[in-house]
Amino acid sequence: MLLLALRTLRYRAGGFVASFVALFFGTVLVMACGGLMETGIRTAVPPQRLVAADVVVTGDQSHPEPIRLDATLVTRIRSVPGVADAVPDVSFPAALLRDGMPVTDGDQQIGHAWASAALGRYGIRDGAAPAEHEIAVDTATATRAGVGVGDQVDVVVRGTPARFRVSGVVSADQIIAGALFFAEPDVARIVPAGDQVDAIGVLAAPGFQSGQLRDALATALKDTPTTLLTGDERGLAEFASAADGGETMIVLAGVFGGLAVLVAIFVVASILGLSVQQRQQEMALLRAIGGTPGQLRRLLLGETMMIGLLAAAAAYPFGRPVGRFLFDQLADGGVAPPAIVFHQGFVPTLVGSAVTMLTALLAAWAAGWAAARTRPTEALVEAGLQRRWVSWPRILFAVLFLAGGMALTLVTALVMKGPVAASTAGPTAMLWATGFALLGPGLTRVIVLVLYVPLRAMCGLSGHLALLNARTRRIRTAGMIMPIMLATGLATSLLYLQTSQSEAADRAYTENLRADAALVSTAGGFPVNLVRSVRTLPGVGQASAVVNSEGYLESEEVAETGYRETVPLQGITADGADRTAPVALTAGTLADLRGDTVALATTSARHFGYELGDTVPLWLGDNTRVSAKVVALFAARHGFETMLAPAELVAPHTRTGLAQEILVRAAPGVAPGTLIATLADFAADHPGLRVAGQDTLRSAHAEQEQTGVWINYLLAFMIICYTVISLVNTLIVATAERRREFAVQRLIGTTRGQVLGMMSAEAVLVVVGGIILGTLVSITTLVPFNLALSDSPLPHGPLWIYLAVTGSAAALTLLATLLPTLYALRTPPVAASTTP
């Protein structure tokens, strides 16, 4: 059978191009997604500023806010054998100003103690180490600020402006982020918790490997809650968001890689099904002269596996670049932290190839059913027309897939809530599509019936012929309709899923936005008590500072599973919160947010069984547990639940201990414009602050949403492209084989125009059928998703997406049908009718 498979492959190379292309692109996608996943799993973050440390000691890194270390550990570590030195690292937000504006990204914690410069192998370029009231600046930042040694500079340190003298300019290799180094006495004043450090860089004594050092430290620090980082993990101590980004990448890669595999199986199976159809006579001849059903199945399997091997080999050089491209897009889009190093080793390649082979195997197995059921007598007739397509495995699988689809649809609608529902939507679409595809010939019959009258009326004889063709060659027609269904169904689902989700997020933000304006930090935050000064400004009605963090409520679920689903936890100052906080209160008042208290979303409260006045176990960002009294309840949309707690309670448990914005509401009778002008004056006196009106806040929020969203569009777009390529493929294959049929028609006097007319009518039939089914498929995902998200079954988003999707499907189908038809018509009919 292997010989026969090889020979057939060589002889019918053209016929296998379609399967090859489908498998090739599928493999590239899976390999690339594998690369993203490997990168996410490894989360290799090479250290920059801590590069000289052989081991970096930090607190537990698995919480939303980093946990600091006791400064006394430094001396303890120094006494461990093998340790040459232990250098504490303290970082805080600091922004160097030029004309009152920060020259560096305020969110970066670029203020450090001078001692830690050794960890980054900084060398002094010019000047000297900083003494009190002095700073050392790295070359890039110095250039940007236009300062040099001896200059007096303004620096916003932890939200408070101060004046320093530049003592020196320093530089280090390979360090991208800027750095401002402060002298010890200044650091002690700046950082309130002087007895704590962010991390400790440990340098090995000569002759000690980092592994040995790590073991020694592990033993010595056994009784402390420390984490030891070596190698490429060390960067995690510098880039706090890297670990989260890695997880996001794992999820993204898993969802889209999985979808790519499903699409590949679907597409290759349908292409193979079509090719078995076309080779029916060959299969029947083999059966007649003694080929067993098993041998036919093996023949098909052999052919497909060989194509799979070729496709995997061809995809190999592309897997990595495409993975890298995707990663770069993720990094640019802010989804993946740029500090992570892209890693695509042999595992994704191996997995990608294995998945391709498995895909080929599954598809060939599915198509093999049809091949094996070929009756030997079919070799004796000119061309088998109608074939039985109903078989018990087919019906069984169709029922299984549809039942699965139904189950997922229900789960999405009833159980899932909020944006998480998106994770079940993709698989739901695939299940329904596969179920429909298995019942394809039957559905085709219905579609032909439905379209019979309009198509006859519109296209006359061509329409009549097309309908006859579609009816008698139902399996072939179904084979053409199904990829169109998949393409339109997936495209509509994936795109509207995104638009609906963005819409919901926007709405959740906008409908709760009650502040007239906000003061937003551009220098990494400011002390919470700045809000007091704001309150005294003329025209200010209420003002409340906001500290952003994350936290969760303790519950039996958490205790049992160990899985903590954190939600945004906002620390707000109680005065004026009722009128400014972005929530719609249903019970209690935010004015009571003092001491150990919390305000919960009504849905969360119901979920955990809490009521107003109850005391709940609240876990703050750095894993501190407080017993907080519920003082208020507010309405929140599913999936957008937050918790509110006093800013004074939350702030000490965040990385910086600072507030990020102050929400302000105008006093009665004061126009928002006046208020914004007042606030602008205030911001001018306080470097590191910026004023935002409602519109600015909204657009800033939308922009923030957009970073995550467009990468989803990109991945969805790739899946859609893949489906489209397969669709075009299938249509070309299905049309090209009809050369002889066209020739016979032309011999009996059909003009080229009439043949084209017939094919156009067929294309219309196929595309309308595909769009109807595709729309059904997308309804099965979009309706439950939107029910979960917003209690309305209709997806949100512009209608033009649907029109564009269906329009492109129609245009592509017509092109992919008519161009091969034109090509086939080029051969003189006599020649075409005699050569097989």
Binding site: Y11, I289, G290, T292, G294, L380, P836
Partner: protein, 258 residues
């Protein structure tokens, strides 16, 4: 009802074979209690007008199709009860086929096409076996050609060579000359006769052409799904007259002819 004589050394025997297509109530009766035997080392032609059931008869005799009732015996072995797999193996080992068209796999060369039944059985063709049959059909010069490069007659010869390679008990032909011109058809028929005379083969073909059927030792007539008679050592003229008679009589059963 006429019944063909059934002898002990029949290679293939049909006993009261009935074949209904579709369900039993609305179905079409293609064969109605047909009993025919085909003797070893003979060349038999099955004739009949269109729709007489001659193709169905061949399919049932060759194990390509299963009768609704009745029995088919090949080499003394009842094949009606065999499963699909066993039937396939039986076809592979004991039966050769020559069809009207699309006899060969276009991807394989002449030699590979001929060796295919042996390969399907999981064996390698014996050395010289392919050469022998190639020589028999006069295509030794065309070993490496593909079907597309051969004329219709040559393709049919390859099909005969493929049928001969397994030394089958019987070779079935379904209008084997149907797509060929008169001269080429004659060559093919000569080859089949030779296989019977000197090769000791048994050949059964289905045809509606009296000139073709005249090459057979015996012609069996079917009409309306029933056995309606036979002629031994026929001439084309007698056969043609008989066919016209059957044609004008339509589907009414004819009496025994000779």
């Amino acid at each position: 009802m006429a019944t063909s004589r059934i002898a002990v050394d029949d290679v293939v025997r049909l006993d009261a074979v009935r074949k209904v297509y579709g369900n039993s109530r609305t179905g079409v009766v293609a064969l109605d209690s047909v009993s025919i035997g085909f003797r070893r080392h003979t060349f038999t032609a099955v004739m009949g007008p269109s729709g007489s059931g001659k193709s169905t008869c061949l399919h049932c005799a060759a194990g390509l199709d299963t009768p609704t009732s009745g029995s088919v015996t090949l080499d003394g072995r009842e094949i009606t009860k065999l499963g699909e797999r066993e039937l396939t193996i039986l076809r592979r080992e004991r039966i050769g086929f020559v069809f009207q068209a699309f006899n060969l796999l276009p991807a394989l060369t002449v030699v590979e096409n001929i060796a295919l039944p042996v390969r399907l059985a999981g064996r390698r063709p014996r050395r010289g076996a392919v050469d022998t049959v190639l020589e028999q059909v006069g295509l030794s010069e065309r070993r490496k050609h593909r079907p597309g490069e051969l004329s219709g007659g040559q393709q049919q010869r390859v099909a005969i060579a493929r049928a001969l390679i397994t030394q089958p008990s019987v070779i079935f032909g379904d209008e084997p000359t149907g797509a060929l011109d008169a001269y080429t058809a004659l060559e093919i028929l000569d080859l089949l006769r030779q296989a019977v005379r000197s090769g000791g083969q048994t050949v059964v073909i289905v045809t509606h052409d009296p000139v073709v059927a005249a090459h057979a030792d015996r012609v069996v007539f079917l009409a309306g799904g029933r056995f309606v008679g036979e002629i031994l050592e026929p001439t084309a003229q007698v056969l043609a007259e008989q066919m016209i008679k059957l044609g004008t009589q339509g589907r009414t059963p004819a009496g025994q002819v000779s």
